[in-house]
């Protein structure tokens, strides 16, 4: 669904990523690791088309990103759920409104929304925080809310950037099981993290491939984890 073919990217001086090839197919589960500053977030931005590769091709749902206009990219993003490192909420809207925002934006708001939203809020354990504003939530609550917003459009692909960044271990495991549940529903999942414990814990739940960015390239990490 999202495919990278020999992709390179650099912010200006020299390449940060080079020669990367990867296919995110339905039902796949990938972890992306690497030290801080190695380019994990940059990699995800290439996947959700915020960045255009300096070399190689990124294809989203069969189309080369270079040939897509702004509206094409907007429509493609509705099929990609993104959990950002810093969540990216609209702070003047309640959590429930933030989670439902992709529906409004995509012109898909409908009569069943309230019910679905309640179910979704329950699923991420935020049933009693629906009316709160994002800044009033804890880091873990925000990241669960971000996950809820990422899946409300029932996307084909879910990209999560350090979703357990500022969350305690119990909460990390809960987020992981939510992602595993989505993966069993056939979604392609890519989680960027430098939390090796999380990856180890995941191995018991899903069949995940672990990729590592090292020396600008993408490598399949061994079984040593």
């Amino acid at each position: 669904m999202i495919g990278l073919e020999n992709v390179s990217y650099g912010y200006g001086d020299g390449e940060l990523l080079s020669g990367i090839t990867l296919d995110l197919s339905p039902g796949s589960f990938h972890f992306l690791t690497g030290p801080s500053g190695s380019g994990k977030t940059t990699f995800l931005k290439l996947c959700y088309m915020e960045l255009v590769p300096t070399a190689g091709h990124v294809r989203a749902f069969g189309r080369d990103v270079r040939e897509m206009d702004r509206d094409d990219i907007a429509r493609a993003r509705r099929r990609i759920g993104i959990v950002h490192q810093d969540c990216q909420f609209l702070d003047h809207l309640s959590i429930a409104e933030n989670i439902a925002l992709p529906l409004a934006v995509g012109g898909r708001a409908g009569p069943d929304d309230a019910e679905n939203l309640d179910a979704l809020l329950g699923w991420v354990g935020l049933g009693n925080r629906a009316g709160a504003l994002p800044p009033e939530l804890s880091g873990g609550e925000r990241q669960r809310a971000a996950l809820a917003r990422a899946v409300i459009m029932s996307p084909d692909v879910i990209l999560a950037d350090e979703p357990t960044g500022n969350v305690d271990w119990e909460m990390s495991k809960r987020l992981l099981s939510l992602l595993a549940e989505l993966n069993r529903m056939g979604k392609a999942i890519l989680v960027a993290t430098h939390d090796l414990n999380l990856i180890r814990a995941a191995k018991t739940k899903v069949n995940a491939r672990v990729l590592r960015i090292s020396d600008r390239r993408l490598q399949l990490a061994g079984a040593d984890l």
Partner: protein, 282 residues
Amino acid sequence: MVPPTGFTAQLTVFSAAAMAFLAVFALALSLAAGRLADRWTSELARSATVRISAPQGQIEAQTRAALGVLQTTPGIASVRVLDKDEQQALLTPWIGQGLPLDVLPLPQLIEVVGDETGYDSEGLRQRLAAEAPGARLDDHARWREPLVRAAGRLRDLGLLSILLITLTTAAMIVLAAHAALAANAQVIRVLRLIGAQDSFIVHAFVRRFTARAVAGATLGTGLGMLAVLLLPDAPETAGGLAAGIGFRGWGWLWPLAVPLLAGFVAFWATRLAALRSLKELS
């Protein structure tokens, strides 16, 4: 979608209201000047004077000849020879009472009133010259034309003011929209990331600015109409233009177009500003 911004919103509403207020006055001025120009053109064009100066003995004959010409000229509704008393009444303000007008060699005046279609002054002049050499047609053209020109110019200036007010409103709204878009760059970024097309974001801003402009302009138009309504009455004859400022009958519908125009301008100004800055933003 876009967070409310109290102060700048109020500024937009205020500016729209002020511009609408000014537009109502410019409109009232234009309409009044237009009416004045029309009136001077039509009323004055219809009334003219024929003055017959000739040696005492010929006046009567030439007057008769001139009347003959006038009565057979198409476009003239009525012709009337002024009698001595009327002529005296006309002269009194200028030369005072008590002068023995009887002994002065006064020219004979004939009042001419044209009908709706009007008459050909040049043709009439030539025929008068042939039939009554002492007759001079004065159709007030000499002093009428500059007045009509001035009134017409005043009307054009009023219309130009409305155009300038419209453009200023557009500029003001473009600036306000730019400021709002810049202030909400993060909101726009988030909306883009969750799949919002430009049209969705533009719509959110356009709706907001159009609503503010229409609200402000409605307020300003209302106040402007009230101010025009409350202008003190001056007698039409004395005041000329000043007395004529205001709306007449159906003319009161004109200012109602001001909020519509403001909404139209705000819609397009915001739309173009937003589309352009979205392209620059990401």
